[in-house]
């Protein structure tokens, strides 16, 4: 029997389901279906932390974390890792038109193209005999630990889209960056610190801005996005409690907020609420973990000297490298260090020296330090820019170049002491010799180090399965140890 009260309730309910509400709820429901895997409680570890969508890696893994030393601006490959004697001989003469005819150029479009050789010499280094410029004397000392890839190429000729391409394999907004993909796939071991941390430094001229969209989680739940730490001063501001609030009070507040959020989540099943709950929890833990992380008083002076750190939290690349190692030790999955200072359109000769000096020692120190701690076995180090620079001069500098650039990788299952791929005699274009490395290939290879089949780590969004390499990518098996 329906009482009048029941009928009243029913009418209220019907009214509540207005067209707008219905559409809103339906959209959420569809989103919820897609997120079934995300909400699956079996994927959550203790204390509800995310364990990754993969029950286990597809192959036996080598790497378990990455540190990406991003040389923002685009370091010149012909000056650092890819010696070109023919280019040096052509220095100052017109660049052969056969190379550049019909090619896309950035700022050099329409101007006269002159070849520009490398000013600083190269040296065979280590037992492997890899060629590395004298601009990078410290990197020369780790030649036997790194794999230099000379056949990198990308599709984007301007900084922001090129960074997006390097991070997400696409310039379209809403595509997750590689760090987010890794967190989505494998989770993070760090329970008290973010799994994906970004640090930025600058110096060397031509500091282009870096947008936070580079470490965006895109269509993945936003808890997988990178967290930028301040490289100057305290990594995270205001982590201390305000006057009069003790840690237990704080705990009560967090718990209560989590309870209220839980109530809302029962009604709407919005994954962003879950993100919010976990962010509150993480922030609470970071109140103690971040000061401990940033306190480098337990590092001996010899360690600071190795990296070339003058002062903790001075915003330098060296300090960031040291912090990166401390993050990796504490279980962070993906640490990305941007050094803004490689966009050398002019005054290349002096600027490249400055930039090299700022990053060379710390980059090499990071590899050495990871190695002596036994962490290089399962830490993948990637060093390189979003693109390279033209072998043609642009006044006193070089322009952006996408047809060839060099990166180096170390550890985490990468074969050390080898050079992979090559470019033509002038360093203009990668050679199709079976060792070419598109950005998609780099992504596929990186995932392979983690034991992930890049074709199988997917996320359903807008009706199709997306992946980091989209419909591309070949694993460069030749550089896997």
């Amino acid at each position: 029997m329906l009482t009048p009260q029941d009928i009243q309730n029913l009418e209220n309910h019907q009214r509540a389901w207005s067209r707008r509400t219905f559409l809103g709820k339906s959209a959420q429901a569809i989103g919820t279906l897609a997120l079934g895997s995300i909400m699956n409680p079996s994927l959550l570890g203790q204390a509800g932390t995310w364990r990754g969508v993969l029950d286990a890696p597809h192959y036996y893994p080598k790497a378990k974390r990455v540190v990406h030393l991003c040389m923002a601006g685009g370091p010149s490959h012909v000056d650092l890792f890819d010696p070109k004697p023919v280019l040096n001989r052509l220095h100052g003469q017109p660049f052969p038109e056969s190379f550049t005819k019909g090619e896309q150029l950035a700022q050099l479009q329409g101007s006269e193209l002159l070849a520009r050789g490398a000013k600083v010499g190269f040296r065979r280094c280590g037992i492997s005999g890899q060629m590395i410029s004298d601009l990078l004397p410290h990197t020369q000392t780790i030649a036997d630990d790194i794999c230099i890839v000379r056949s990198m190429h990308t599709e984007q000729i301007n900084h922001d889209p090129a960074h997006a391409f390097m991070n997400a394999g696409s310039i379209n907004k809403g595509r997750p960056s590689m760090g987010s993909w890794l967190l989505y796939g494998l989770g993070s071991e760090a329970e008290n610190l973010p799994g994906y941390v970004v640090l930025v430094s600058e110096g060397g001229g031509g500091a282009q801005p870096i947008s936070a969209r580079q470490w965006s989680a895109g269509f993945l739940p936003s808890k997988f996005q990178g967290v930028q730490f301040q490289s100057r001063g305290a990594p995270v501001h205001y982590v201390g409690n305000p006057e009069g609030v003790c840690q237990s009070t704080q705990r009560q507040v967090i718990d209560e907020v989590a309870r209220l959020n839980g109530l809302q989540q029962e009604r709407s099943l919005d994954p962003e609420i879950e993100t919010r709950v976990s962010q509150y929890e993480l922030a609470f833990k970071m109140q103690t973990s971040v000061p401990e992380l940033a306190d480098i008083s337990d590092e001996p002076q010899s360690m600071l000297d190795l990296y070339g750190v003058k002062e903790a939290g001075d915003g330098s690349f060296a300090a960031n490298c040291l912090l990166a190692r401390r993050l990796l030790e504490r279980g962070s999955r993906f640490v990305q260090l941007y050094h803004r200072g490689w966009d050398h359109h002019s005054k290349l000769d002096t600027n490249i020296q400055v930039a090299s000096k700022l990053v060379d020692q710390a980059s090499a120190a990071l590899v050495k330090d990871l190695k002596q701690r036994g962490m290089l076995e399962d830490t993948l180090v990637i060093w390189g820019g979003e693109f390279g620079r033209t072998p043609m001069g642009q006044g006193t500098g070089r322009d952006h170049h996408i047809n060839a650039f060099s990166v180096w990788m170390a550890g985490g299952g990468i074969r050390p002491g080898m050079t992979w791929g090559s470019t033509d005699d002038l360093g203009y274009r990668y050679l199709n010799d079976g060792q070419e490395m598109h950005v998609h290939d780099l992504h596929a290879t990186m995932l392979a180090c983690f034991g992930i089949d890049h074709k199988k780590l997917t996320y359903r969004y807008q009706g199709r399965d997306f992946r980091l390499t989209d419909v591309h990518g070949h694993v460069a098996r030749g550089i896997l140890a």
Partner: protein, 474 residues
């Protein structure tokens, strides 16, 4: 001429066919009058049998001259061949004398059958026909073979049988092409006309495998195109056996085979693999341990139970007691990170159960030389991290018992360069030892096989000194 000789297996079937046609026709004739052969027809058929037999015998003689066959079998085959030929000629002569003719026809068929069987034995090996029959009749043979992987002898149970199945029909007792026999260990080591079949320790330099690596189209590819080829896992096992010293004696387990090798052997012999921890069980236990101890436990493979355990996350709170609690998943742990925890030498006893351990980190702990002694059983350990501990050279020296150890981290310890170099040398020596031991055995065998014979006839015995066995490549 060799070409003509090789036609023998083809043309030999002409007289066989004709003779059986003749038998069939004669039997039918005895049964029904109207099926009886006319004298003319009989003449034609018998003449064809004679002509065919002559050609077959001729080709067969040439084949025997050029092939490398077991002498006694070959002689018998030749005699029988001539006997059969003789009988067919006899048939031709006696075709009008019915009684004798029928008797001769019967004898011809018997001779033909014997010759044919003999020929088959020559090409396919003596027990080609009888082996499956014997197996079928006798049920299980006396030599039941190994019942468990622990009993498997590498050469006897794994290598020898697959060589027998794929190679010995042409490189065996009855037929040894290229003077190569692969039916016994000594014969394999002795090699053939083009040199030794195997270079101990080096699969790629071993002729046996080089011929196998050649593309199918190459005429030097072995086994010849059209013959059954060894499977991939058989080749992998041969490679592994050669690289591990190609010893005649020696148990499988002594060589600490990789899991793939173990699986291949198990598949070939139809033996069960050593029981692997159950994945679901391990993961369930891992979940419990995780929440209990605050460590991170992750699966390393989709279908196997292997786990990686990160206790570093728990820090000082993780000690010897907690390490013991890993017991339920001990058999599945491949990587264990105890860095920065409060485990001590005493607690490392728990590692004895972790026989699958590949990577162990005990850096920044109280572990000292005494604790390293407890790692002896970790035969699969590849990477050991000891940085910032109190270990010394003495501890490092005790690691020489870890046959798979490849990486050792001793930063910020009292360990000296000399000690690690000595360890590296010890490990390398250990690896070489098995190889050299088996090489030594081979050489000893050669010495016995190739010792000189002295004639003590009329003159004083010849004193031989400084004689050495022939060179490897002899």
């Amino acid at each position: 001429m060799e070409f003509v000789g090789r036609l023998h297996p083809l043309v030999v079937h002409v007289p066989i066919g004709v003779l059986f046609l003749l038998v069939g026709a004669e039997v039918a004739g005895a049964w029904r009058e109207k099926l009886k052969l006319s004298d003319g027809a009989r003449l034609v058929v018998v003449s064809m049998a004679v002509a065919g037999a002559i050609v077959a015998v001729g080709c067969g003689w040439l084949r025997g001259e050029n092939g490398s066959y077991d002498e006694t079998l070959l002689d018998r085959h030749r005699i029988l061949g001539f006997v059969t030929l003789g009988f067919t000629v006899l048939l031709l002569l006696l075709r009008r004398r019915k009684r004798v003719y029928k008797f001769a026809l019967g004898l011809t068929v018997v001779a033909l059958t014997l010759t044919g069987h003999n020929g088959g034995s020559l090409t396919h090996g003596r027990d080609y026909l009888t082996a499956p029959l014997a197996a079928w009749l006798g049920g299980e043979s006396d030599d039941a073979g190994p019942q468990a992987l622990a009993e498997v002898m590498v050469f006897e149970h794994v290598i020898q049988p697959s060589l027998h199945a794929k190679c010995v029909s042409c490189h065996g007792e009855t037929k040894s092409e290229g003077d190569l026999r692969l039916d016994s260990f000594a014969a394999i080591m002795a090699g053939g006309a083009t040199g030794p079949a195997i270079v101990v320790g080096d699969p790629t330099e071993s002729l046996l495998l080089q011929r196998l690596y050649l593309p199918m189209g190459d005429k030097k590819h072995m086994p010849p195109a059209g013959r059954p080829q060894p499977t991939e896992s058989e080749v992998a096992l041969w490679e592994w056996w050669i690289s591990r010293g190609a010893a005649e004696a020696g148990r499988l387990v002594e060589l600490i085979p990789d899991p793939e090798i173990l699986a291949a052997v198990a598949a070939q012999l139809g033996l069960p693999l050593p029981p692997e921890p159950d994945r679901e069980e391990m993961l369930a236990a891992a979940r419990e341990i995780e929440s209990e101890l605050g460590v991170g436990v992750r699966a390393l493979a989709v279908e196997r139970p292997w786990l990686t355990v990160n206790a570093r996350l728990a820090g000082e709170a993780f000690g010897d007691e907690q390490l013991k609690r890993l017991g339920p998943i001990a058999g599945a742990i491949h990587r264990l990170d105890l860095g920065g925890t409060s485990v001590t030498d005493v607690g490392l006893v728990a590692l004895a159960e972790m026989t699958e351990l590949r990577q162990l980190r005990v850096d920044q702990t109280a572990v000292s030389d005494a604790g390293l002694g407890r790692l002896v059983g970790l035969t699969r350990l590849e990477s050991l991290n000891l940085h910032s501990t109190a270990i010394t050279d003495a501890g490092v020296a005790s690691l020489g018992e870890l046959p798979k150890l490849r990486r050792l981290y001793v930063w910020q310890t009292a360990v000296t360069q000399e000690a690690t170099q000595a360890l590296a040398a010890a490990l390398e020596n250990r690896r070489r030892l098995t190889r050299y031991q088996s090489e030594l055995r081979v050489l000893e065998d050669r010495i016995t096989a190739e010792t000189f014979q002295t004639d003590f006839g009329y003159e004083a015995p010849i004193v031989i000194d400084d004689e050495k066995p022939k060179d490897e490549d002899g």
